[in-house]
């Protein structure tokens, strides 16, 4: 089974504030579409990592809205993050949607997910995400990366300590 999948690739475009990712799956495009549009299936994998996802709104049609809340810990001693957007277009093998992290309501990513049939029950996901500025894109890359950012801080600390910065 492992031969049928490969690790995700990522590319941060140099001329557009865009992130592109691809990933192959041992599934048909129809199954991948279901895993993205069936709320129960979607909630099981979407993350962020280590969090439970609760779907609040889920109207899978052109122009329908979606909203989910990801959280961990208890209600009074935990953290919650809400995301929302619109299914702009749900086609046979494509989803075009917007994505917003609610604390930043004016920040919005335009996402296009394409399911390319590779035959033999394999499908390649092409996911691209466009935001309105490079700053926004880089903030996106940093988002939800507490560990990575902390490592970044540690490395910057060393640069500063060395007098390199």
């Amino acid at each position: 089974m492992s031969a049928m999948t490969s690790e995700a690739t990522i590319e941060a475009d140099e001329t557009l504030p865009m992130i592109r990712m691809t990933r192959d799956f041992a599934a048909t495009p129809q199954q991948l579409m279901r895993a993205h549009t069936d709320p129960e299936l979607f909630a099981r994998w979407v993350g962020p990592n280590g969090m439970e996802t609760r779907i609040v709104d889920w109207d899978v049609r052109d122009g329908g809205e979606w909203r989910y809340v990801a959280g961990r810990g208890s209600a009074d001693d935990g953290e919650e993050y809400a995301f929302r957007g619109c299914f702009h277009r749900v086609g046979e093998d494509v989803i075009v949607q917007t994505f917003t992290f609610e604390p930043e309501p004016e920040g919005v990513a335009l996402e296009t997910l394409r399911f390319e049939d590779l035959g033999d029950g394999r499908t390649r996901l092409h996911a691209q995400s466009l935001v309105d500025s490079f700053e926004g894109r880089d903030a996106f890359l940093r988002s939800g990366m507490e560990v990575g950012v902390n490592e970044g801080y540690a490395k910057l600390d060393r640069l500063i300590a060395n007098g390199d910065v």
């Binding site: 089974m1 999948t5 690790e7 995700a8 690739t9 990522i10 941060a12 140099e14 992130i19 990712m21 990933r23 799956f25 041992a26 599934a27 199954q31 991948l32 279901r34 895993a35 299936l41 099981r44 994998w45 979407v46 993350g47 962020p48 990592n49 029950g121 996901l125 500025s133 490079f134 700053e135 880089d138 903030a139 890359l141 940093r142 939800g144 990366m145 560990v147 990575g148 950012v149 490592e151 970044g152 801080y153 490395k155 910057l156 600390d157 640069l159 500063i160 390199d164 910065v165």
Partner: protein, 117 residues
């Protein structure tokens, strides 16, 4: 500390500064050399350089008379690392999706029914 990180990202949010950084990846350059392709004053380029310097993205040699601008590649390693971290997070998410899809496969094609389609 987060101010410093924000400065790195803010410094790179400007297209002229990104272009300057891109040109510095091939070789060090003087302020005059950096200013050449742009329709702006050396002074304006110096301002951009100051932002890049404050963010720790470039440094300028103290001793040499030309004071060439040098790119601090380590800071870019840091950014590459963030992109890689983002990719790894996506990969973790997609592995959960693999598991969901495998389960769907079993339900769609129950193994006890023999031949898989």
């Amino acid at each position: 500390m987060s101010d410093r990180l924000s400065r790195v990202f803010a410094a790179l949010a400007d297209p002229t500064r990104r272009d300057m950084v891109a040109r510095l990846t091939t070789a060090d350059a003087t302020v005059g050399e950096l200013a050449e392709p742009y329709d702006v004053s050396v002074q304006a380029v110096s301002k951009h350089l100051k932002v890049l310097e404050d963010a720790g993205l470039v440094s300028r040699t103290k001793e040499a008379q030309r004071r060439p601008v040098h790119l601090e590649a380590e800071v870019f390693d840091l950014m590459t690392k963030w992109i890689e971290r983002y990719r790894q997070q996506a990969e973790t998410r997609y592995r959960r999706l693999d598991a969901v899809l495998a389960e769907m496969n079993e339900q769609d094609n129950p193994p006890q029914e023999g031949t898989a389609s």
